[in-house]
Symmetry: D2
Subunit: 343 residues, 4 copies
Amino acid sequence: MNSFGQFLRVTLFGESHGPAIGVVIDGVPAGIPLAVGDFMEDLARRAPGAKGTTARREKDVPEILSGVYEGHTTGAPLTLIWRNEHARSEDYERLKDIPRPGHADYPAMGKYHGYADLRGGGPFSGRMTLALVAAGVVAKKLLQAVSLEISARLVEVGGENDPKRWDALLDECAAKGDSLGGVVECTASRMPVGLGEPFFDSLESLLSHAVFSIPGVRGIEFGDGFAAAGMKGSEHNDPLVAVPGLTKGEGTVAPAKNGAGGINGGLSNGAPLLFRVAFKPTASISRPQQTYNCRTHTQDILSVKGRHDVCFALRTPVIVEAATALVLCDLVLRDRAAMERPF
Amino acid sequence: MNSFGQFLRVTLFGESHGPAIGVVIDGVPAGIPLAVGDFMEDLARRAPGAKGTTARREKDVPEILSGVYEGHTTGAPLTLIWRNEHARSEDYERLKDIPRPGHADYPAMGKYHGYADLRGGGPFSGRMTLALVAAGVVAKKLLQAVSLEISARLVEVGGENDPKRWDALLDECAAKGDSLGGVVECTASRMPVGLGEPFFDSLESLLSHAVFSIPGVRGIEFGDGFAAAGMKGSEHNDPLVAVPGLTKGEGTVAPAKNGAGGINGGLSNGAPLLFRVAFKPTASISRPQQTYNCRTHTQDILSVKGRHDVCFALRTPVIVEAATALVLCDLVLRDRAAMERPF
Amino acid sequence: MNSFGQFLRVTLFGESHGPAIGVVIDGVPAGIPLAVGDFMEDLARRAPGAKGTTARREKDVPEILSGVYEGHTTGAPLTLIWRNEHARSEDYERLKDIPRPGHADYPAMGKYHGYADLRGGGPFSGRMTLALVAAGVVAKKLLQAVSLEISARLVEVGGENDPKRWDALLDECAAKGDSLGGVVECTASRMPVGLGEPFFDSLESLLSHAVFSIPGVRGIEFGDGFAAAGMKGSEHNDPLVAVPGLTKGEGTVAPAKNGAGGINGGLSNGAPLLFRVAFKPTASISRPQQTYNCRTHTQDILSVKGRHDVCFALRTPVIVEAATALVLCDLVLRDRAAMERPF
Amino acid sequence: MNSFGQFLRVTLFGESHGPAIGVVIDGVPAGIPLAVGDFMEDLARRAPGAKGTTARREKDVPEILSGVYEGHTTGAPLTLIWRNEHARSEDYERLKDIPRPGHADYPAMGKYHGYADLRGGGPFSGRMTLALVAAGVVAKKLLQAVSLEISARLVEVGGENDPKRWDALLDECAAKGDSLGGVVECTASRMPVGLGEPFFDSLESLLSHAVFSIPGVRGIEFGDGFAAAGMKGSEHNDPLVAVPGLTKGEGTVAPAKNGAGGINGGLSNGAPLLFRVAFKPTASISRPQQTYNCRTHTQDILSVKGRHDVCFALRTPVIVEAATALVLCDLVLRDRAAMERPF
C-alpha cells in the first residue's frame, strides 16, 4: 500500500507522466494556518537547477483540493495535486521494451504484468518526492508546536566529503556522461524522551521505513552506525551525565556523546537524533550500458537520453527531512494520545 | 504498537523477568503441519552457550496456546509462550535508579513514567527475540511453498572479517570485561520478481523496519550499500543479461551483478536479496562506566554484573533471518492476493 | 481516518463546496480495463432528478488523475476527482451560527474547533457518496471475476412497503415541507463460503462498518434481523440440506432458508448475503424547526432553504451496493492471499 | 485479522477446547492500577448460572502474563489468558461430520479446509467473549478518567419486554428443548462532543463493527433506529436547545430528545449514546433439527446435547458494554492525539 503513518496518514498517488501526482494527508488537526505559499521554500530546495541536477523544470506549485478553508486546515483530509506538464514522453518511448539498468523497469513489468505506466519512471519517479516533501511541510508545521527541528545536509558527493571539490567532480562526471552518489546526514534537535516502541515500531524502524521509500537509498546508519560494529562496548556506549538547567534545581540527564544517534532500545533518549543515508549514483546515464531487449530477445546497448541529474543526491536533503518529519509527527501524536494526563 | 505485518501479523508480548514472553501470529493459513519440535533448531541457533555468549540458560521450549490442533495449524491465531525461569532479579535490583549506558533504561523511565518492568531489560530484553525467531520459523515454513530460502551469517566480529581470529578477539575482550560488535549478512534466494511497493512499502522499507526492531542494530545496507554513494553510475548499475533456461526457449532476464542487492525501485528484481546489518557491541559490560544516579542526583560509576554475551551479534543471524522471513512472507501473501489470476 | 479496507484500500477526501471531492483506491490489480464511461451507470443511479430528490445537478463525470493508462489499470493507486460546481454557498451562509437539527453542524463545530468547512455539509455531505459509488464500481469489476453479484433496492418509503403508494406519499410530504425515510434491502449472490473472520472482522462487522459510513443510516439487520430476537431457535435456525449439482456426484450443502442472512459465526455460508438498512428522513426540511443560535445565544426557529431530497433514501441503493462491494472485494482478496494453494 | 482498534489494539486468541484462550491489549498507558481482582465483577456478570444459562462452569480467573508489574500497568502489551478446563469434548465428537444448523461449523469447514479446531465452537465459541469482557474492563478503567460511563441491559427476551414474564418464558422454552433470543440496550453518558470521523470511521461504523463481532448478533439500531425510516423529518430531527450550566454564563447546547442516539454525521453530539442490539436465540437446541451428514452424504436429524444457554442473550449486556468501551476508548485516545492543544 502506498500509505504511511497511523496518526498522520500520508497516501501518495500519481505517475510521472500521467495527468497529475498528489498526496492525501489524513489526521491533520483543524485550525493550522496553511496556504500554497507555505510549501514553496521546501519545494524549491528539492527543485532542480543547481549544477549537477536536471534541467527539467515544472511549475511545482501545488493545488489544494481539500482540507483547507479560509487559510486554515479544516480537519478533513488535506489533498494536494501537481499537474504534470512539459513531459517529453518521446524520450522514453523506445525504452518500452528495453529495461534500463538500475531502474524499476524490469521488476515493474513483472509486478504489473506490463500494464504499469512507466513513462518517466511512472510511480517510481523521483517526481513523486514532490508530494513527499509537501507532506513533510505539514508535518514540520505540527512539530513546531513541540519546538522539534529537523535539519538534513549533504556531507559527501562521489565519495568526497570536502564540499570545495564537489563542483569539479560533478563537471568531470557530467562530461563523461556518468553520475555520482552522495551521503546525507540528518539531525533532529529538542527531541522528547521516549518516542518509539520496543517492538516493532522502534524509532529506527519507523525512520528507516520512511527513508527507504525515497528512491535510490542504499543504506542508513544511526549514530556510530557501521563503525559501531568494530568498536568495544566501552567505546560505543554513551556515558550518562547531568545537564544543568538554567535555574537552580532544574536539569536533566543526557548522554555525554552521541554514538547511539539519540536512540536507546528503540526509544529517543533526549539527545539529538542523528543518522546518515547513502544515496546511489543516478541510474540514468548517457554512457552506453549493457541491457536486454525484451522484444527482440537479444542483448542490447543502451544510452539513456533525456534530462537527468548527474547527482540526484544533491536534491535529497529536504526529502530526508520530510520523511523524518512524517515519522516524528506520527510519534508525537501517538505520544499525546498515550501518555498525557489524566491517564 | 508491538505488531508487524498486514497479512501475516505478528504481535510480541512479555517482559524478560515477568511471568512469560510470547507471540501471537495471525493470518497463518490452516493445515500447515506444526509442532513444538519445529521450533527447536532455530531456537537453538539463537541460544547462548558458544564462546562469547552468556551462560544464562533457559529452557527455550515454547508452549503452543492456540492455533494448532492434531499437528496442524487451524487458521486461528497461533500463540506461543515461554515461561520465564532462572531469572536472577537481584542482579538488576540496584540498577533501578542508575540507568545503564547504552540501554533503554533511561528513555524507558521517561516513556513509561517509572512504571516499566525493566528487570532484565523488560520488554527491551534480547530475550524477546526468542518470540521473533519462533515467528520466523512459521514464516519460513510458508515460504518453503514458493521455494524461497533465507540465509544469514556473521561476516565480521569486532571489525575483523577473518573468522579464524574471532576466538582470540573474544577471549581478549572478555578478559578486559569489555564487549564486541559484529556484522551479519543476509541473502534470500529464488526471490519472485515484484515484491514490494513503490511508496511507502518498498522492499527495503519493510526489511529495515523489521530488522531495526532487533535490539542493537546500528545500520543496514543493501547490495553495494554505503559504498554505492562513492561509485559512478556506470559502476553501480547492474547490467541486465539473459539467463538461459533448462529447456530451449525458456529463460529469463537477470542482473549480471548484484550491486542493487536484488531490489530496484523498491521491488525485488529476481536476483538474490542481499543486505548487511551492523550490530553494536553488547551494552552490558563489567568495565566501570560513568552514569548518573537518579536517586542521589550525583554522577556514579557502574560495573554491570550478571551474565552477558561478550558479543551478542554471534546469536543474531537466525534473528535476522526471522525478521526477513516475516517481511517476505507478508509480501508473498500480498502478492497472491493482488496478482494471481483470474484478476 | 477516512480510509477503509486492508487489501483494497479506499480513501475519500474533499468537502462539498471546496474545490473538489475525490477518492484514492489503492490495491487495484494492474490490467483491469477501466474508463470514465464505466462509472456513469452507477453514478446516474445515485444522481438526483427523480421525484423526491433534489433538483441540484452536478456534472458527475469524474476525472481520472492516476492509476489508468491506455485504458487499463496500472497497479498504482487509482485516483478520481470531481470538481465542485454550481454550489450556491449563499444558501448556507446564514446557517453558520445556527446548527441545523439532524445535521453534523453542531458536533463538527466542537470536533474541529470551528475550522471545518461546513458549506453544503462539507465532508459530511451526501455528495461524498459520489466518490463511494465510484469506488464501488471498481470493486464490482473485481468481483465479476468470481461471479459475485450485488443488488440493492428500496423496499420501504415513509413506512410504506407498497411502491404504488410512494409517489403520493412523496408529493404529500413535499407539499408540507417535510421529509421521509426508507429501507433498503441488499443481497449478494454466488457468495464463496468462508468470507470473514471470527474476531473482530466478522462479515457483519465489516459490512456494517462500511454501511454506517453512508450518511443517514439508523440501523442494519441481517437475515431475520430484529425479528430473530423474538423467535425460537427451532424457528430461526436454518436447516442444512443437500443441493444437487448438475452432474452426478456433484453438489453441495446449503441452508434450506435464509434466517441467518447468509452468515454463520461471522463467515459467509454460501447462501445469498441478505441485509436491510434503515435510512432516516432527510434532515434538511423547510418546515420550521427549533434550534439554538450560537451567536446570539438565544433559541431560534430555522427553516432550511435550498435544494434537498424529500427522501434521500431513494438514491441510496447504489451506495449500499458500493459499500457492500468494497467489503466483499477486500475479503475475496484476503481469501486469495490466505487460502489458495500451494499453502 | 483477529484484532480491533488503532490506539488501544485488542487481539483475541484461542479455541474453546484448546489449551487456553486469551487477549493481548496493546496501547494501555503505563501506571494504571490493575490486578486480577479488577476483572472479576464483569466476568461474573458474563458467567453462566442464572436461569436460562448453561450449567458449564469454568474458573474464569485470568492469569496476567505480561504488562503488569507491582500492581500497575507497565505500558508494554497486557496479556491475559484463561486455561480451558472441564471441557467435555466427547459431547462434540460425533458432530464432526454433521454441521449444526445455526453454527459456524459448515462455513468454518470450508474456510479452514477441515483443519479448524471446532470442539466446543473453537474460535467461534461464546467462550471467546471472556477475553472481550476482560479487554472491556481495561477500556472502562481508561474511560473513567474522562468520566464516561457505559451501561447495557436486557430489554426484551423472546419478544417479551416485561421482565416479570421472562422466567416463565425461559422455563417453558427449556422444557421444550428450544431456545430464545433477546434485545440489549446500551447507553453511554457524559459523552464528549465530536468522537468519530465522517468517513469511514463514523461512531456508528466503529460501534457496529465491534458489536457484530459478538457471536449471535442479528441487528443494531441507533436512537429511533428502524422506526426512523417510517418517520417524518419533523418528527425524527432532534431540536437543539440550550442546557444551562451550574454557574452563570456557563452552559451548552444539546438535543431536546434523542432520536439520533447521540450521533450526528457520524460524530457524537454530546447527548447520551443510545443503541439496541438484537441477539438471535441460542443455536444449540436439543429439539431435533434437520441437517446434512457430510460423511454419509445423507440428510440427518440432529439433537444437540451438552450444556447450553436457553437464552445466551441474558449474559450479553456486559459483553456489549465491553465492545462499546473498546470503541470509545480508542476514540478518546485518538481525540487526545489529534485535538488537544498546543496544536
